[in-house]
Amino acid sequence: MEALDRIFIRIGEAFSTFLAQYLPAPVVTVIGMFLSAIIISTFAALTFMLLTWLERKFVGRMQDRIGPNRVGPFGLLQPIADAIKMFTKELITPAGAHKVVYNLAPILVVAPSLMIFAVIPFGRDMVAADLDVGVLYLIALSSATEVAILMAGWASRNKFSLLGAMRAVAQMLSYEVPLVLILLTLVLMAGSMRLTDLVAVQGVPFAFLQPVAFVIFIVAAAAELNRTPFDIPEAESELVAGYHTEYGGMKFGLFMMAEFIAAFGMAALVTTVFLGGWRPWLIPLPSWLWFLIKTYLVLFVFIWFRGTFPRLRIDQLQAFCWKFLVPVTLLNVIVTGVVVTFVPLVRNGEVVVRGIGGWATVTVVYFAVNVVFALVVAWLYRRPTLQAVQQIQVGQPAGRGLSREVQTA
């Protein structure tokens, strides 16, 4: 068990001792760093391929279809077929486009989503870069993606691309705020921005201590990823394909790749900060396996969303963020600040909760506070939420957003 848990670390150690016989130590370190980057990136890329299959299969089932089933057993080889198709399709650069920026954008959009995994702890002691400002780093990365999307939209010189990019970035900006505030709440509880510390503190997963924040986080994460029901930037019925309208072949493939890898990264983040990361739940399995199980669980929820909810309109989307999520999460920070003062998890950098009794108390207190908080929020928002729900039910078709957004100059 122990050996299985540490198998990847053992392999790495063995490899570097092997290299150290022939090469000086600094070179080995550098090679080790690049190798870890390459391995993790490749793993992420493979996950992307798996995810495309999974999503099509799941959504197909939800929609009473079968999904891909021709290439390979259960259609498992479908992603490979897709890859071959993309590699061999012609790469077009539109006539009016700004060539450099147009071609740079898909590359720059992939890099940040891959870089997410540098700080994610995949298992016990399995983290590439144990950064002390890990949470801030992750927030910073999402902003780099925004710039790449704007580049794609601008350089295509297509009004659908530009509009899609503007929408996407506006949406990502807006939904980043509740995400950041929720992460702030968790950092407040853990007293550290280091993701390994965040995992270490979770004697009980934070999802139980902060259920309200957990639910909001999942919702906001879906929006941050531009996924249904928040896929307004690439709403097919209005904007063709959003900011990547003009992209084809492998360049389009890179956008898809970035999107899926970012989804995977977001799921990994949710796992790390809310579900206890690699910490096993009851069944003793290797830590990295537990991490993957939890991450795929979260990914399943994202896919489930896609199969279930209709798309929002952009005004509803922004109102939902700024008028509901942001105030609620900000209040949650304040409430948690008060609770942490009286029932601390960490004091002076040391975890102070001891034993099952201690964790039970903490869980009960935090959960109770969250329930009260949720009730108060529900009371505060009772009429506006009702109205919002009504709007969604009897509101106009989503296509109306476009005409309002583009002004007659």
Binding site: M33, V110, A128, D132, L162, L184, V187, W322, T341, Q407
Partner: protein, 117 residues
């Protein structure tokens, strides 16, 4: 320093991987450009009007509020990290800080700056 070096390696690989993919695709794919293929896609019709249309100022307003919150993050995260080493005073301080932040949000709300239309 070490974690940042690893991140540097990730940055390099993160840029190289898609770059190599695109280069491989360039090698593998055919290349037969023609003006119609390279035209801007507008559901099969000729492009109408300017490409760079006039956007609503509302986009800017959202970005603006985001900027303010983003900066607050820079101040609030250090506070959150140090919070377990500080007393109740830190809570009061943060309440003032967050109160001012909330006041700004409420102001924007009341001004109608949060509404899309």
């Amino acid at each position: 320093m070490k974690p940042y070096a690893v991140i540097g390696a990730f940055l390099v690989i993160g840029l190289l991987l898609p770059l190599m993919t695109v280069m491989a695709a360039t090698l593998l794919s055919p290349r037969k450009p023609n003006p119609i293929k390279q035209d801007i896609y507008e559901c099969g019709l000729k492009t109408v009007g300017e490409t760079w249309v006039q956007f609503k100022v509302q986009y800017y307003i959202y970005a603006l509020i985001f900027v303010v919150f983003d900066i607050e993050v820079v101040f609030l995260y250090p506070w959150a990290v140090a919070y377990n080493q500080l007393g109740l005073f830190a809570l009061v301080e943060m309440l003032i800080f967050a109160g001012i932040l909330l006041a700004g949000l409420l102001y924007a709300w009341r001004k109608g700056a949060l509404s899309w239309v």
